[in-house]
Symmetry: C2
Subunit: 189 residues, 2 copies
């Protein structure tokens, strides 16, 4: 079996540690231990602790964006809302540790790496907004697509994230479809 590059091992370890203690609460000592490398080696692959988590978040946002795009394009228009919801939940489920970090960093603007990841973050909100716009057009144009803003996109993301974390943290035995039902239930009240 091909050996995983040390750089990736370090990033995985960082995700795992940060899921437990938060990013600020994660020490380079613990990341090194979890990655089975010496602390000094971390600084060969990354210039600083901040750089590690900048890369972690960038990768997490990119993966989420890819999942949304895939679900949106691989689905007939009428079912896009459910497809995107389930695709997002699947990404969260696939790596719950990373999910906790990505979700909790989605609305933090005060990080050293804030400027670097802002575009990736913003594009995710826009993607969710566009999915909602598609659905509005599909259902006869009410509300008007232009009336749907990034704020609604953030609400959609928040709904999936809230349900997803409740699921993974407190009711992990629920099937993913049932969780999606609870999210989409907001769309029917």
């Amino acid at each position: 079996m091909a050996r995983t590059p040390t750089r990736d091992v370090i990033m995985s370890a960082a995700v795992s540690v940060a899921a437990q203690h938060g990013i600020s609460g994660s020490s380079m000592d613990e990341i090194a231990e979890q990655a089975h490398v010496a602390k000094g080696s971390l600084y060969y692959h990354f210039p600083s602790k901040d750089a590690i988590f900048e890369n972690v978040l960038q990768a997490g946002f990119d993966r989420l964006a890819d999942a949304i795009r895939d679900a949106r394009s691989a689905t007939e228009a009428g079912a896009a809302l459910r497809a995107v919801t389930e695709a997002t939940l699947a990404v969260l489920q696939q790596n719950p540790a990373r999910a906790k970090i990505v979700v909790s960093e989605m609305f933090r603007t005060d990080r050293p790496w804030g400027d670097a990841i802002a575009p990736a973050r913003a594009s995710i909100v826009v993607l969710y907004r566009d999915v909602l716009r598609d659905a509005a057009l599909q259902s006869g144009g009410t509300p008007a697509a232009e009336a749907i803003t990034e704020t609604a996109g953030a609400a959609f993301f928040g709904a999936i994230a809230g349900a997803g974390l409740e699921w993974l943290l407190f009711h992990p035995d629920q099937p993913i479809g049932a969780v999606a039902d609870q999210v989409l239930l907001l769309a029917r009240c």
Copy 2:
């Protein structure tokens, strides 16, 4: 004017500092500076840093729960969904610094004070669930109220929180009613 008790000054300062740097990133030195007291005085009013934030979060959760209950009971059944949404947004807007902390701690289970605030957190999710159940009964019993679980409550909270933070952080000029519209738009797609 009556002087604010030092204990409250410290808690306000802690909120303000944590909104900028996160809880782990907040130092007792900076909290003391912001509160205009010496660091030693913090330890007269609280036994530890953790204790300060346990109290901050408990108070934040309690205030949110009160707002939800008030909005729910002061409204005729048909408008409860909007009333609760706007009431929640108003709480966030009234103290954005506290809002950031409360929202970001809603789905963290790994804190020293986790057990202490878990009941308050859980009761908020249940409150949102019950508001959704009310709305389902109101609109003719579809879906069945029993089919609406805490997961939907968490989704509802997440939707409001996501929209609210997007609003306060990136589009603070929007009127609160417009933000509520974007949240409730999820309910109409």
